[in-house]
Point group: C2
Chain length 231, copies 2
């Protein structure tokens, strides 16, 4: 596992809570040159790409690049296929929102982009909540992927994947973000792509839970009434 | 390194000599179910995709899937950027045709597709000639990538990347292909995308050399006169 900060960083920035917090966290570590990457993968909640760009600008990133990867070509996934319903919140169903090797493809694309900006450490905001459902959100996987990226790059140099939040629950990540002043009002989470957010999809329910656990009201609007009292 | 044959195989089939030979080789090993994958990455020699489909049909593959990955978004590469000249044959220049992590992205896409067909061994036709210029054509890299794919897949199973030709020169691969009856007349190699082939780009010169070393005339046509006598 890597812990020290790279001089030049590329943050995978979806526009959601975790990656936004990661961006502010990297800045807070004193990284002098931060680039951001968003991925247009055919997501139905593509509104997140607008928020990703706004967050990058707000953070003062050196550049923001949107990379395209059409995951709809694999089919059958609710995040990219309008004919498949987004599952309502239920932990057991989260696996249905998995596109095979999605994170691996995103990171490899970011690594390819990193070579064009002269080499940079990659930062990804996977949280502990993810690693039950997504095997490519686990640190052991990132360790292995680092090795493949180092062996397969154009130059003989060590590629590093930093995942500062893999040992933290989403609730802890939000706590850090609140301390760092992350502008959560311009983040996007809802899998349905709605603003106001639907409040009932998997992603919304997780987000609401993380704010509620911190005793804080989420600054974004929801279609449904939400009880923000700490549970 | 893996050597035994998988029951179900996915062959990365560019439409060129090496991957076509790999497809016929996998069939000759007795693999009962062979699928093929072509990649539309914005290559200017996209005519190769037609040949890839024809080769798959000729080989009697169970399926052929074209996966899209836009590598033009990284820019500055002669294989995808019409504004950049394809280098003439010269080993030292081959590195200029590298898109960062191209093979890694192709294999990871094929692995994602493999999950949709129920799990399969991946076959890639990298040859010894490639490993001087392309770090992601070396067996050590494939060993590492196998581990990352196994750790990051949707299911806990071993993913295998077979690279039967990494220890062979292109000349030896063509010798095997000639023995196996590969229909080289429907393969495509020219980086310029020309039929008849240009005969002077890196890829053409390597192809011509491999046939000539086997004392055989290439069945495809060239724009220039070629001396087929064994050197």
């Amino acid at each position: 596992m890597q812990s020290q900060i790279d001089h030049r960083a590329i943050v995978l920035l979806s526009g959601g809570m975790d990656s936004s917090t990661c961006l502010w966290w990297v800045k807070a570590q004193g990284c002098p040159e931060v680039h951001t990457v968003g991925i247009d993968y055919g997501q139905r909640h593509r509104v997140e790409l607008e928020f990703s760009a706004r967050l990058s600008a707000r953070a003062g990133a050196a550049s923001h690049k949107v990379l395209r990867l059409d995951l709809t070509q694999f089919g059958g996934n609710p995040l990219t296929d309008a004919g498949v319903a987004v599952p309502k919140a239920s932990e057991a169903q989260q696996v249905r929102t998995v596109v095979p090797y999605r994170n691996m493809l995103f990171i490899t694309l970011a690594a390819a982009h990193a070579e064009t900006v002269g080499g940079a450490g990659l930062y990804i905001a996977a949280v502990k909540d993810d690693d039950r459902s997504y095997r490519d959100c686990r640190r052991a996987f990132y360790d292995s992927l680092e090795q493949a990226l180092s062996l397969g790059g154009m130059y003989d140099r060590e590629v590093r994947i930093h995942s500062p939040f893999t040992a933290m629950w989403k609730t802890e990540v939000v706590r850090i973000g609140l301390e760092l002043g992350v502008p959560y009002e311009i983040t996007h989470t809802c899998y349905e792509g709605r603003r106001p957010a639907c409040g009932v999809c998997d992603a919304c329910v997780e987000r609401i839970g993380a704010f509620r656990a911190n005793g804080v009201r989420d600054p974004i609007a929801y279609e449904i009434g939400v009880d923000w009292k700490q549970s």
